[in-house]
């Protein structure tokens, strides 16, 4: 059930080295800056703040983050073929996946979930438990997105593209126009968790908490396991 510390260390170093760190930190700073600006210069009610955070953080930042981080932990290695060095070591494929996932989840939590919580605090203080609610919601979304996109990165070379199609078209368009599809939306699960923490009536989700938590947990575990299986049979064929 463990992780390999070396892999964790190496993945962390490549994930947070140079440009990517600036991108992640920049996005987090952007969120905080916006929250600050609105708090200082606009008159925002609790409901407005909730909508804002939901739209920008849960709806946009989290999926993108999960995509960038989830695929970034293993995508580049598969892309340039250096993953063979990793696969040649006597380390269980599942341990590899778990180690990389640990880095992905930690990064997402640090740069997306915590700033979401802070943004909520900035905008509304601790009114109606909004900040904590969205913080935890972002946490849940971040964890599930990381696992999903890591699996995608292992399963296909076009992970980023499929991930985008999912995040943009499925989560927003289909989720809005096809009510049934909302049950299968990570965003809705996160909202459900947030709804349960905030004061009643502030946040509305369309999926019940029990269903949301169950689906989130199942997807997380299944994606992690399947990623390990796919890694076992990974073939490095020529190029596109």
């Amino acid at each position: 059930m463990g992780v390999n510390n070396t892999i964790v260390r190496l993945t962390a170093r490549s994930m947070l080295g140079g440009r990517r760190l600036y991108l992640l930190a920049g996005l987090a700073a952007l969120l905080l800056a916006l929250a600050l600006l609105l708090r200082l210069f606009a008159d925002v009610s609790a409901t407005d703040s909730a909508e804002f955070i939901q739209a920008v953080s849960l709806g946009t930042l989290l999926p993108l983050f999960g995509l960038i981080v989830g695929t970034g932990t293993i995508g580049p290695e598969i892309d340039d073929g250096s993953v063979v060095y990793l696969l040649a070591k006597p380390v269980s494929r599942h341990v590899i996946v778990r180690s990389k996932l640990a880095v992905a989840v930690t990064t997402t939590v640090t740069f997306a979930a915590v700033p979401t919580f802070l943004a909520g605090l900035i905008m509304v203080g601790d009114r109606a438990g909004i900040a904590l609610a969205y913080g935890i919601g972002a946490l849940v979304a971040g964890i599930v997105y990381s696992a999903l996109f890591l699996l995608l990165a292992v399963a296909t070379r076009h992970a980023v593209i499929f991930g985008l199609v999912y995040a943009l078209i499925w989560e927003s368009l289909v989720g809005t126009f096809v009510p049934g599809a909302r049950t299968l939306s990570v965003q809705q699960w996160a909202l459900s968790v947030a709804e349960s923490i905030a004061s009643p009536g502030v946040i509305t989700a369309d999926v019940s908490l029990g269903v949301a938590l169950t689906l989130a947990a199942v997807v997380f575990v299944a994606a992690t396991w399947y990623a390990g299986e796919r890694l076992r049979v990974l073939t490095l064929a020529g190029d596109d």
């Binding site: 946009t60 995508g75 985008l164």
Partner: protein
């Protein structure tokens, strides 16, 4: 010292000199393949312009996946279809609705189409812009281009033009579909023509601005995945932030002026602002530019973005180490 006296090379040079006039080297047993040796080329050699044009056409075909493997056709063709289907549906609805007297105008403003379908548009840009420029960087093909009569700025302009035309087509065809529907529905032709013309101009501006940004971001990395992620992140985040802010400021705070200025933040809202102010369309955002000063700023910023992207692209390709 002599070069290796290879019997086969001696005989092939003998036969090629005998057949240098281009005739076949005698009847071979199978009578099918004749080795006619090397022929020089003294036909026309086209200059920079023609070569740049050839690159433009080649890149445009690549934007839509024409002439490439089936896999690279899926996304551009699929997205083009996704862009057109709603227009088709709207056209049909217009015809039926007008026929029954339920509608007296198209259900969706022409100039709003791009905004409504921006997800598909964004994915198209995010996948096709890297395809246009990142591949040459990743496979290091650039030296082969630069060691030919093509100059580096020509390369950039050809690629930019191809991407722009591609995005314009992507936006213009649905607009024309809706327009044809409106004509069939016998809506006032003058009004419809004016509106679709304005929307087509808007589509051209969208194409210029979005292509510039997408190509610039894509050219910064040789990894296609990063280019895709970068473009999508930029387009989607800026749009989400701009509209969310506009919503809070404009609607909840009732400050339409500031909300109008906020449209400068994202390329989609920027171009829509130009459409609203310069072409007189209705805003597709929570708040369009409220005053002439704002409107002029929008136009200037748009110009600056286009020129800036082009300039930065040229500079980037001048600097790239080969």
């Amino acid at each position: 010292m002599q070069p290796p006296s290879d019997p086969s090379s001696a005989s092939s040079s003998a036969s090629s000199s005998a057949s240098s006039s281009g005739l076949s080297s005698g009847p071979s047993p199978t009578g099918v393949i004749h080795d006619i040796g090397y022929r020089g080329y003294d036909g026309p050699r086209l200059g920079r312009r023609a070569v740049a044009r050839a690159l433009f056409v080649h890149s445009l075909r690549g934007v839509f996946g024409i002439g490439r493997s089936a896999k690279s056709k899926v996304l551009p063709v699929g997205l083009s279809v996704i862009m057109c289907v709603p227009a088709l549906v709207l056209a049909v609805v217009t015809v039926i609705g007008a026929g029954r007297g339920l509608l007296d105008d198209v259900p969706l403003d022409y100039s709003h189409y791009a905004m409504v379908l921006q997800a598909a548009l964004a994915i198209f840009l995010a996948t096709q812009a890297p395809q246009t420029v990142s591949l040459d960087l990743r496979f290091n093909t650039l030296p082969l281009y630069v060691s030919r009569p093509l100059e580096r700025p020509d390369y950039v302009v050809a690629k930019y033009a191809a991407m722009t035309l591609g995005v314009f087509l992507l936006l213009a065809v649905p607009l024309l579909i809706m327009y044809v529907g409106a004509l069939f529905a016998e809506l006032p032709a003058g009004d419809e023509t004016a509106e679709v013309a304005a929307a087509l101009v808007g589509a051209a501006i969208y194409a210029l601005v979005l292509s510039g940004l997408a190509l610039l971001i894509a050219s910064l990395t040789s990894r296609r995945g990063f280019g895709v992620a970068g473009i999508i992140t930029t387009l989607v985040m800026t749009y989400a932030v701009a509209t969310a802010l506009q919503g809070v400021v404009g609607i909840d705070n009732d400050d339409a002026v500031t909300a109008g200025w906020l449209g400068l933040i994202s390329p989609m809202t920027l171009v829509d602002g130009v459409q609203v102010w310069a072409l007189g369309t209705d805003p597709a955002t929570p708040a369009g530019p409220a005053s002439d000063a704002t409107g002029i700023t929008f136009v200037l910023v748009t110009l600056a973005v286009v020129v800036g992207c082009l300039g930065l692209l040229v500079a980037r390709y001048r600097k790239v180490r080969l």
